[in-house]
Symmetry: C2
Amino acid sequence: MKLGRESLDDLSVGAVFLATGGGGDPYVSYLATQRVLDECGPVELLSVDDLDDDAYVVTIGGVGAPSVSLELLPSVNDAAVALETFEEHVGRKVDAVVSFEVGGGNSMIPIIAAAKKNIPVINGDGMGRALPEAQMMTYPIAGVAPTPAIALDYAGNVATFSTDSTATYERHVRNMAQAMGGMIMTVEHPMTGAQLKKSIVPDTISFSIEIGRILREYRGNAQRIFHPLSEAFAKSLYGNLFHLYTGKVVDYASSVVGGYDIGQAVIEAFDSDAPPLTINVKNEYLVARVGEQVVASVPDLITVLDYETSTPINAERLRYGQRVTVYGVGCPEYYRQPNALAVVAPRCFGFDFDFVPIEELVHAHCALNSEFA
Amino acid sequence: MKLGRESLDDLSVGAVFLATGGGGDPYVSYLATQRVLDECGPVELLSVDDLDDDAYVVTIGGVGAPSVSLELLPSVNDAAVALETFEEHVGRKVDAVVSFEVGGGNSMIPIIAAAKKNIPVINGDGMGRALPEAQMMTYPIAGVAPTPAIALDYAGNVATFSTDSTATYERHVRNMAQAMGGMIMTVEHPMTGAQLKKSIVPDTISFSIEIGRILREYRGNAQRIFHPLSEAFAKSLYGNLFHLYTGKVVDYASSVVGGYDIGQAVIEAFDSDAPPLTINVKNEYLVARVGEQVVASVPDLITVLDYETSTPINAERLRYGQRVTVYGVGCPEYYRQPNALAVVAPRCFGFDFDFVPIEELVHAHCALNSEFA
């Protein structure tokens, strides 16, 4: 299957929906990808099932605080330069690239790299959403080593890493991202086709395009959009979609702490005295509470859409006064297993409660609050 | 000239004197060096004049907060492993090693590497003292590029760096040091023999041994030690030694900030109502003030000795209640040139005054305070 510029609009919007507030701003990445596809032609979007077991695959993407990428713009050449730097570092050619995560930026970067180097990009990613830390990817959870890995900064400076533990690698690469201006491109977690087949969250690029298409076709119909979205999710590996809240952003504060965007949003209902919805952010939307009651939490997905246009809004674009609709949906089953929850449960982010699946949280909340649904 | 274990006592003490509070604690490095010299025999201490112009020389040493090295002890193998990792990274053999700076730790590490690899260590260093940041070394001031460079941590994890600017490299390596536990070993600033000849502060290893010998021979004679020390300095590239203060440490506070030991010591005279001496620390002793008046500042040297034993005391070993003598001495002339002062003057550390040579500061202070001398 070929992926050309005609799919980019839907992909960039759908990827932001699945990225739960993180994954990087889509706009500049979208423009860069469009330009590269115009120049190099469509890329091959390869199903992981069609990948050779002994293919040499790498992950590529941006690491840092997404807010930084709004001002420190990437070059269209960064992805190819990063890939070439990696190939030189390890002394071999890369056969295909795959995303860390779904995201406006991080779904596009592998496509740019693939187009420039004329290799396939794999349909899928290592999170099925976006999450802030490297050890939260499905690849290391499945045992893929993080290095050899390289980081490239805006000025062409390079660092390489060698360590067996992705938690250690995460600490190293995060500090380098801070030292290198707050946002870098990395090539990491090299693996075989066989390893990727066991760890990938499959088909998330084509699913992002489908979500983007629905958002485009039903644009402006806040009442009607839930049904087709919900149908698409029900047939996917995510499961049922839930409407969590509709209202106005009355507060959003964030700052770059330790190389992450850390923040909190408060959303009040338009015309009811329902308690406000609070969302905690670490690059991504992690926990949504109505009043004190948790209604969705990481690793399940929380997404904020513009109320008028249904455009998903990344955390770094949240502003006071925006009218928004907040949806939640379950994460891929992969992340609900104990070995995955060990690195992505709410407690891994400092929250003092265990993970409860969104479907249980929402049903409990509805039982207590009949106006909620 | 051979350097064997019989010189290590004097070297480790003398190096701490010249290191102005920084350069790493000598004790563990001393033990490690002793063991390696016992195992491998004496190393060749090569005068830079006898080095081939086209020899491939690298600097090697510890980077981080010296206080960390009191608890995170280095392995005797780290230096050789770091050197081998570097050789593998660049694909060529290293002909000789040289120190970043004079210091209890950082004078020893190149000796360990040289002994283990059976190559010479150059008599000299890149600071003639210790200073906290890489771009403050004579090598980059003379135009030597910082990379290719590698960092090795306590667990064997490796990072490599590629950048043209030593100020950028300093930011990268400092963040990696923080990510890697607070103290790492780096191999960096590779250069030719010809480049080293133009940039080295020569003969500081043999001079450290001489200072260590004087401190040993006159140990316990706080009254008599000044004269022989002063004679040795007067004949060296440092110039005249000045007695700045004698008294008791009444306050010392420090913390690890941004990967450095940042602190301030206050020393009160034993039995006069002279104003206290205050010393500002960033890994090293940077500025000494009697009351409000600056009596010595970076890049000139400030050294704190135990009053009873004349043992020089590193900043991370300063404690409330210690009775100390504080000396100052001019830095090598190299650091008083405009291109060097551009990176090591007091303003580079955030102090709001220009560099004035210690001989002028002390004379001005003596003219105002007749009891001072």
